[in-house]
């Protein structure tokens, strides 16, 4: 079943008098449970595509079906709702909230979905254990290593059991070892059936994906398909 379907998706940025086309007529379909990598040179539109997939932005043209709904031109409030319920973000620079501890950071997405205090605390604890931070639940982000922070971010992304996980260079700020651990964690999640979309420059990451989308100048240059499981 297609979980993501985009048709003739385009995004233009108006820079003064200059109209920059960051994405041009992109057509893609992702199935549930797929591991997708997006690659391409700098400025090719990877982040732009990911932001559109994550409903952080609206496309200039085209359609975007996430699950059953076309979310391309939804209202701001509806987009917030979609982001909260169907999308999990993992950022290159972790983006944890500095004042909150591990548990509280994981709880943030549940808070905006109105999940009760007891339930969300329970789930946050489970997720912290899942990513291997069961013993760090009351630490602040500043008291954690980069790898640990990214684990918290992954746990947070899973909080509302989203349809897709979006990661923009999740290992970009990490050394090989902790980067490898993060990739392992993502593999595990994918093996459990999560749909993963990862923007990366790293061929090692791309090797794990069953589908690698190569972008160039805002268009899909080619799609590479690997057999699943390396």
């Amino acid at each position: 079943m297609a979980i993501v379907k985009i048709e003739k998706l385009s995004k233009n940025y108006q820079m003064g008098r200059l109209n920059v086309a960051a994405l041009r007529d992109v057509n893609l379909t992702f199935e549930e449970g797929q591991y997708i990598a997006i690659m391409g040179p700098s400025g090719s539109g990877k982040s732009t595509l990911l932001n559109l997939l994550g409903c952080l932005d609206r496309p200039t043209g085209g359609c975007y079906y996430l699950g059953k709904d076309d979310v391309a031109q939804m209202e701001d409030d509806e987009l917030s709702m979609i982001r909260g319920q169907r999308i999990g973000f993992i950022f290159q620079s972790y983006n944890l909230i500095a004042q909150l501890n591990v548990i509280e950071n994981i709880e943030v997405p549940m808070y905006y979905q109105g999940i009760s205090a007891r339930k969300s605390a329970e789930r946050a604890k489970e997720l912290a254990e899942l990513v291997g931070l069961g013993d760090r639940i009351d630490h602040r982000p500043s008291e954690l290593s980069g790898g640990q922070q990214q684990r918290v971010a992954i746990a947070r992304a899973l909080a509302n059991d989203p349809l897709i996980l979006l990661a923009d260079e999740p290992t970009g700020n990490l050394d090989t070892k902790s980067g490898g651990e993060i990739l392992h964690l993502l593999d595990d999640l994918n093996n459990q059936g999560k749909t993963l979309i990862v923007v990366t420059h790293d061929a090692q990451v791309a090797k794990r994906a069953e589908m690698v989308i190569h972008l160039l100048d805002g268009t899909v240059e080619r799609i590479e398909r690997n057999s699943k499981g390396n």
Partner: protein
């Protein structure tokens, strides 16, 4: 908005305010001082106007007081060569009032003199008030012991007197005053009653002090029958001044009229003006209308409140602008957090609520502190400057409400700014 989310928002707000506690405190100072000054000013204003109103109310709101005043100097030679000046209210005036003015409850003529009262070897300065039994109707005198004047005392010109508590304390220490004889101006008067002291409002006493040549400093009042006063003290008052001997003849220092209802006061004043301008060629009387004074006091209070209110409003406005300034800084400092929250599902109104509640919490905390300080200041003012102050509950509620309203007013724009930032830009913000 569930209770849980409200609680979480408050927790979060408190946390971030606490993280920047110096900044929060400095920001709240504007509100603290604003609220503090509102309460203190209102308390002082309220206290002052209450005191004025009490003083006026003591004169009686259904009363009209007509006083003798000394007219502009007018020379008239006397038979003996000394000058005799005759002026003021007369018994005839009192009679006329009684018979021509409708809606009158009682007319109380008073003869007032500055004297000294002696008991054994103790002496005290007093004001002798020669009057009639109905004096108790027009002045708030409470009988503590014995009785007040009765008709028979007047009829037989009894040499009896009623003293007030102050004089009782000064003259009698431990002795029982009832039945004792007090010496005033060479005559002995038997004490038949003790009454509460009537705090003389500033209107009282001044003109009498002029006419008798003595200035203030009386300890209290001694009441005697009007007829006795006329017989014993006469009506002629001798003054020795720079221009030689000066004699004055004044029958009554004051006539107090009480009407049946307050709405009769003003018509009565009109009639009085008519009557007196016809019978008195010189302007040797003055009409005091406590009701009018009360109204003026209320008016003054209103203006006072408006002025104080505006000053306080300006200081609160300044405080509010300070808060807005800081909240804008906070918002731009926390741009990234806002971006994260938006990416994780926060709607614009969630962000608005978050920042607005932070501002309101700050101003309400400032308001509460201001209330505490603001209630303390009037207390200190009363204690050290012995000025009356009244902290009213409504001023507390008002200023607390105002501080919350300032939070909302000056917090809405920063919160709006926060909510309308582009999530992607915010996430990129360093």
């Amino acid at each position: 908005m569930t209770w849980y989310r409200l609680r979480q928002t408050i927790k979060l707000g408190a946390k971030s305010l606490w993280m920047h506690r110096l900044r929060s405190t400095l920001t709240a100072l504007g509100i603290i001082f604003g609220v503090c000054s509102v309460i203190a000013m209102l308390a002082i204003g309220e206290g002052a106007s209450q005191e004025a109103q009490d003083q006026i109310a003591r004169l009686g709101s259904r009363n009209v007081i007509i006083k003798t005043i000394k007219p502009p100097e007018e020379e008239r030679a006397d038979v003996q060569g000394a000058r005799l000046q005759e002026y003021g209210l007369t018994y005839a005036d009192a009679e006329q009032f009684k018979h021509t003015i409708p809606d009158i409850q009682v007319v109380v003529p008073q003869r007032r003199l500055m004297q000294e009262a002696w008991y054994l070897n103790r002496k005290v300065a007093i004001e002798v008030i020669g009057t009639i039994p109905w004096y108790t109707e027009i002045a708030p005198v409470d009988i503590r012991q014995g009785r007040f004047l009765e008709s028979a005392d007047l009829k037989y010109r009894q040499k009896v007197c009623i003293i007030d508590e102050e004089i009782f304390n000064k003259l009698f220490l431990f002795d029982d005053p009832l039945g004792a004889d007090v010496k005033i101006s060479g005559d002995f008067y038997r004490v038949i009653g003790i009454v509460s002291k009537v705090e003389s409002a500033s209107e009282n006493g001044a003109s009498e002090a002029d006419s008798s040549g003595q200035i203030g400093g009386v300890a209290g009042n001694v009441y005697i029958p009007l007829t006795t006063a006329k017989q014993r003290f006469g009506e002629i008052n001798l003054q020795i001044g720079t221009s030689g001997q000066n004699m004055e003849k004044v029958e009554l220092q004051q006539i107090t009229i009480q009407v049946k209802k307050t709405e009769h006061v003003l018509p009565t004043v009109e009639i009085l003006n008519n009557l007196l301008s016809r019978s008195h060629k010189k302007k040797d009387y003055q009409i005091v209308v406590p009701l009018e004074l009360l109204r003026q006091a209320a008016q003054t209070k209103k203006i006072f409140s408006i002025v104080l209110g505006s000053i306080a409003a300006i200081s609160l406005l300044v405080g509010g602008i300070g808060i807005m300034n800081i909240m804008l800084a906070t918002v731009s400092e926390r741009t990234r957090e806002i971006g994260i929250r938006r990416a994780l599902g926060a709607k614009r109104r969630d962000i608005i609520f978050q920042f607005l509640s932070e501002t309101v919490m700050l101003t309400m905390a400032g308001g509460l502190l201001g209330i505490v300080l603001g209630s303390l200041i009037p207390f200190l003012v009363t204690h050290f400057a012995s000025m009356p102050t009244i902290v009213t509950g409504s001023s507390l509620i008002l200023s607390f409400g105002i501080s919350a309203a300032i939070g909302v007013t000056f917090g809405i724009y920063p919160a709006y700014r926060a909510a309308h930032m582009d999530p992607i830009e915010s996430l990129r913000h360093e």
